[in-house]
Assembly symmetry: C2
Homo-oligomer: 157 residues x 2
Amino acid sequence: MTPPLSPPRPSGHQRERLAFEEFLERRGLKLTRQREAVMKAVLEASGHFEAEEVVTLLRQGALRVSRATVYRTLDLMKECQLVEKLDLGTPHSYYEQVNLGEHHDHLICVTCGAVTEFHDLELETVQAEVCRRHGFSITHHSLRIFGQCQACLEKTG
Amino acid sequence: MTPPLSPPRPSGHQRERLAFEEFLERRGLKLTRQREAVMKAVLEASGHFEAEEVVTLLRQGALRVSRATVYRTLDLMKECQLVEKLDLGTPHSYYEQVNLGEHHDHLICVTCGAVTEFHDLELETVQAEVCRRHGFSITHHSLRIFGQCQACLEKTG
DNA sequence: AAAGAGATGAGATTGATTCTCATTAGAGTA
DNA sequence: TACTCTAATGAGAATCAATCTCATCTCTTT
Ligand SMILES: [Mn+2]
Ligand SMILES: [Mn+2]
Ligand SMILES: [Zn+2]
Ligand SMILES: [Zn+2]
């Protein structure tokens, strides 16, 4: 049961879905069936995925969605801050779904490729301080830490 | 004159030059005229540059150096940690010369494209702490902060 | 000078992403 | 329903930095 003092928050990705719809509205764009299919696939995706994976996944559904539309919709969701584009050092980009107002950075294992997410408040604070000192107005940032993960360290010493 | 207590440090980029020569030696590779030309150009370069700029610059000299060799040598210098490859959000990569043992991160203005360098010891410390907590052995990292630089802020409010 | 190993360069190739533009879908109107 | 108008889509072409190929060159060593 829902605690009485908690407002009944929309479940699933209702907030994100709504945010995207309002974003499209604001821009005078329509929520087409194709855009809806991409949005649904992305909101339900977990972890880091390639654009091509979305294309492949959607091929299994009834509605055909072209590669171009997948890329275009991912761009829109990125502008809406529901999606982030990642450069993990590979030749092509990865994307990930980000819940409204959340953020994290990445530890990337150069041995096995594992990507671990973390969030550190102190780190964010220090970054903000650096920006303040430079009179720089930050919009977003990307921190990638490369090295060996615990599992790989234990294997090879 | 050199202070007596300071060891006579090699000037210019003697240390980096030596480091590269030893690196090649260790790998059983030769310091060819082409590699030397690229190394010289890179060590004397300032700021962030594209691979293509090195190709163009070297075309003006007596010795012809192919694009392939420029890319190959930049990769070697990267392994030797004399060069870093940067993704500034543009479609192609930038490179920069890094002095032995030095490091910095970047503030990138999304309005004018200006790139400001900074180094913050506290930031590095907090990062190290995050890694320790995750049992992660860091080799290197890349922090990019995007936003508006002071100049752009003053122009547009 | 002959042999062997690495290095080079011109040009072909790659491949993720973007672009083009003819066609389609959908909202609004009469 | 039929018509209009505009945004959206999709198939395939184009892009272009980066990589690859492989014939040729350069050294060093016998
Ligand atoms: Mn992530
Ligand atoms: Mn720099
Ligand atoms: Zn690992
Ligand atoms: Zn600026």
